[in-house]
Symmetry: C2
Subunit: 650 residues, 2 copies
């Protein structure tokens, strides 16, 4: 395992799959939302697309500022925390965590919907297939497969190639005047109820705003690069900024290519095909199966060339699964940063605590699974919950950046530098205006449709994290070093716990004697008079050099008599400490562990609560303990984007 | 909590509910099995009853020998182990454990069937009701309600009273010539297929044997007293023997009362009522609902007095639930004895390990639940699995007793004593002949009908227990003290693990210094250069009296660098030992525990595998640790029958 920094051509696919994959569902959601207003509204599709592109450009420009100013990989969370305080940082973090869950749910659901265009047997079983895919991703990430940049690069570039192929093929035919229509072109679109008939300007504006806010799903994942600056080659910030621009450009080109092509080919993609699609004035009914936008385009364009059709669908499906996987990668990285700052359990900060990572991954997968089942793997419904978090985080981040530049400007005197800072602040201010506007539009158009669920989840995550920070703060205060910690205890009383007279006991006694305590005795609990008598006999026979005390236990308890005895010792000499040596067996198999040390475990758990009592585990390694292999550092999800990992393919 | 020995009048109900409750289903199974042979076979009902009574008398007589010879409460397991060896003992133990599961399944299923006579809405939902009852019993036993003899006494005596009332009422009317017929008396019984028409003598013998083996279910629970001798008042053995005789007599009287009464009242209880019951030669069809024997008798006898009918049904239901509860009580007692002998995990032997007890209780309940669901709470099907275990244990126990007397006879010279021993051996020999015969009959008539499942389970339990014993034996051998344990290590190197410089660290350092190790240093892992620099600065500032060493960790791991460092220390000085002091926080709430010490836990688990390394937990009790209440000894199931417990009602 080594540190592996990513060249731009590898970094792009590593961080881009989430952002690019949204091309597979953002156009669908634009068309679908507009369809509710009938063909009048439907015609606005490319204008909506352009509005999304404008936001995208603004966000990319803003984040290019972020990666220069905050190259440490903390991303929006760091920007918000440093400039706006802890609560703002926690808000961003909560928003991002909830959006990770939705990334998994939306990407996988869309992947299954797209796959259904090529694999018709999936129809009607989308939810089960999506849950199965989530389970598979979970298993792969729990297993800790070694990530490599190449694993991301190949499918991402293939997806770009497939969309490029479709666009070039399509626009060439358009230039030649041979562009075919898609199969759904023959249908009329009936407006849905509130938008049918004479639609007011307000209603239409609302519809357009809603289509725009769904289209903004194309922006998710753009912030990923700002979390991954440390994984770039030097000059890190500049390379990251360049990659970000590249990512933005590719995203925009792909998005607009698909929207315009769909418009040219008269594609119909509606919310309720059975009733909204009309053939000769009559609804097509429940028999009609509506394919995704990419599915319909590919089917029409590559009508005579099935391999190309399947190629496009396969690339789309794979990129969507990869996008879901980025959540599995990004989640531990974010959790690690939050743990470092005391907002999540500390053990998430260090690598190697697989249990903690596993819990995080399972939680992520379970939450995504619940959403998929609850919304029946329908992207249109899930998208209503999505992107709230992203725009909360965009907005707070831009606000933080403005504060950042204002603070720097207060100290900077160099006019050239000040000019650059002013320009940067201008970019972020424009970004703030834009993202705040979008956030408001998203909240207004999506709140009742489902965004409230996401917001509720964010509040819950926020409260849990704040509770954890407060706990750590309280503990830190309680533990701060003061004068009271200098005094040494007076004496040490050693106690060796004995159940039988065997090697582990002898070893514990030998080690206890090395500690030279003021007093040392062996203590055993009388569970059976015969056993105790035999123990005492052997004790004398072997001339064990410390005295043996047998505690009575009329009800065959072990823990209580010992705790009581130790407490008495402590009460007699409050300034002394008591050191308790517990012989422990070390075995190699998990079921062997169940057969040993259970009493020792309970005893230790109980003794911890007695002040001035030390517990010493004296291990005795049984032969089977040698079976345990040395543990190797296994990779954890998110290694590549932290600059840790194997072959980068570069 | 005190030691409470049971007078006979309390001991009887404590140990009798299982044995007496079988009166509620044993007659049913005799009638039902005979019904397959039509009215010809059906007439044999009281002869079968008498055969069961003969076996019962023999078994009671034999067990009166057991309680005198083995008064320690080990019961059949002890008799078999001492006289026939470990494998025989384990066979008995496996058989008893499987039968505990079946006691729960059969008793609860029968209880629900009886209750359905009074509560018709239970019809068709027997399985769900039975599972619910098992869950309730499990909850009560997990909770650890304080047992008292009175809790057993009242329902048991009420049940006896209710059956006595029914019998006296019935026989008085019979004497007066006014005994009514039961409602089903009007039906004819059609023989079932293999027994219809001209039945061969062999087929009829087989049917009678099968009815007899089902009727022997009345014998389950008779052995309970032999496991409970220590809970009796002195003279323990004599009181236990007397109680056993009393129990046998009451059982026999109740069983025969019911069978004869049912015969006199022309009761029909058949396997397949829809087809077997004929009215004017035509089957009654699916509409007919067949009540239990006690249900039918009570309904006919108390036709004008509904309260008495409900009283009988209620007492029957309650005694059956109580019988199921005896399995929850007996199981931990048996497990404790098996654990003492190393056949089950050791922690089951001591009281107070609630987790271990809980696991046992949940396992018992889960297994019973599976059986109830699998066999749809039908007593007739479950009974096919039952009593194999009991008769395996009866037979081996009698064989053991014969060996026991033979061994004693070899040493005894007093003629009077020898005479008594000869007589006892005679009783046990007769018992062996009888129980072995029944066992063969049971195996032959039930094997394919379901007994194979019970046998398979016994083999599995046997193998697990033998695996555990072998493991403990191997470990004991490996741990036996020999010459190699006398040498003291040369020196002790102390290491205090430091993450931050706070009170727990200062305390760990102070305690470590008290141990006067040859060398002492503090070790920290560099997870963040800034934090490490700050730690070093504070270390100097506070003039901490031991050196600080910071270990590098490029990938933010904690455990690996420390383990590697400790290994190096050990390799340099193989004869020395390394003592590692880990400061630990002690908190009071479970979720706080999740936020602390996780790294310490992993570290300790890993360090245990290094030979010559001691781990010392230095606890620091945070304020919240004082929330933890002192743990009180909570009662565990089976206390009453071990002579531990509260008010005995006596």
């Amino acid at each position: 395992m080594g540190e592996t920094l990513l060249p731009k051509r590898v970094a792009l696919p590593v961080f881009a799959s989430d952002a690019l994959s949204s091309v597979a569902y953002a156009p669908d959601e634009i068309f679908l939302t507009l369809s509710m207003g009938g063909l009048t509204a439907y015609a606005f599709n490319w204008q909506i697309g352009i509005a999304v592109v404008v936001v995208m450009l603004t966000v990319v420009a803003s984040y290019r500022q972020n990666v220069h100013a905050y190259p440490s990989g903390g991303g929006d969370y760091e920007v918000a925390t440093v400039n706006l305080g802890r609560n703002a940082g926690l808000t961003v973090a909560s928003a991002l965590m909830v959006d990770y869950v939705l990334t998994v749910a939306v990407s996988i659901s869309s992947g299954v919907q797209n796959a259904a265009a090529a694999l018709p047997f999936l129809k009607g079983h989308e939810s089960a297939a999506a849950v199965g895919l989530v389970a598979l991703l979970t298993a792969v990430n729990l297993r800790g497969a070694k990530e490599s940049g190449r694993a991301f690069a190949i499918p991402t570039y293939l997806f770009m190639a497939s969309i490029a192929l479709m666009a070039i093929w399509g626009y060439t035919q358009y230039a030649l005047g041979t562009l075919p229509q898609v199969e759904s072109a023959k249908y009329d679109i009936a407006a849905e109820d509130p938008f049918a008939g004479a639609v007011s300007g307000v209603a239409m504006a609302y519809l357009l705003a809603r289509a725009f806010s769904s289209g903004c799903a194309a922006l998710t994942g753009v912030e990923a690069i700002s979390n991954g600056v440390p994984a770039f080659r030097k000059p890190k910030s500049r390379n990251a900024a360049t990659t970000l621009l590249l990512l933005g450009t590719i995203s925009i080109v792909m998005l607009m290519s698909i929207i315009v092509l769909a418009d040219l080919m008269d594609l119909r993609y509606v919310e309720d095909p059975a009733h909204q699609l009309l053939l000769d004035g009559k609804p097509v009914g429940d028999g009609y199966v509506q394919e995704t936008v990419i599915g319909q385009l590919a089917a029409a364009l590559f009508q005579g060339v099935p391999p190309l059709f399947y190629f496009v669908i396969a690339c789309t499906g794979i990129i969507l699964v990869l996008a879901a996987n980025t959540a599995f990668n990004g989640f531990p990285v974010l959790a690690s940063i939050l743990a470092r700052d005391g907002h999540l359990p500390r053990q998430l900060h260090t690598r190697g605590d697989r249990l903690a990572f596993s819990n995080g991954i399972v939680t992520l997968a379970a939450a995504a699974g619940v959403l998929i089942v609850a919304f029946d793997a329908e992207v249109t419904k899930l998208i209503q919950l999505y992107i709230v978090g992203v725009f909360v985080s965009f907005t707070l981040s831009q606000l933080g950046m403005i504060r950042h530049w204002t603070r720097l400007l207060a100290e900077e005197t160099d006019p050239a530098e000040r000019g650059r800072m002013h320009r940067s602040r201008g970019v972020n201010a424009f970004g703030l205006a834009m993202t705040a506007t979008v956030l408001v539009i998203v909240l207004v158009t999506k709140f009742l449709a489902g965004a409230w669920i996401a917001i509720l989840a964010m509040v819950a995550v926020f409260l849990v994290m704040r509770g954890i920070s407060r706990h750590y703060d309280r503990v830190a205060l309680e533990l701060a070093v003061d004068e009271s910690d200098v005094a040494l205890p007076a004496r040490v009383h050693g106690i060796v716990l004995v159940s039988k007279l065997h090697k582990p006991t002898m070893r514990a006694i030998a080690y206890a004697r090395l500690g030279q305590p003021s007093s040392l005795e062996a203590v055993s609990v009388n569970l059976d008079p015969d056993d105790s008598a035999e123990l005492a006999r052997r004790w004398d026979e072997l001339r064990v050099p410390i005295p043996l005390r047998v505690l009575d236990s009329p009800y065959r308890e072990v823990v209580r008599p010992i705790v009581r005895y130790v407490k008495t010792k402590r009460t007699q000499n409050p300034r002394d400490i008591v050191t308790i040596y517990i012989p422990e067996y070390v075995v190699g198999r998990w079921w062997e562990q169940l057969l040993h040390n259970q009493t020792a475990l309970r005893l230790k758990a109980r003794l911890l609560f007695l002040p001035g009592v030390l517990v010493v585990s004296v291990p005795y390694q049984l032969a089977s303990a040698q079976r345990v292999k040395k543990d190797h550092a296994r990779p954890t999800p998110g290694d590549v984007r932290r600059g840790i990992g194997g072959r980068s393919g570069g």
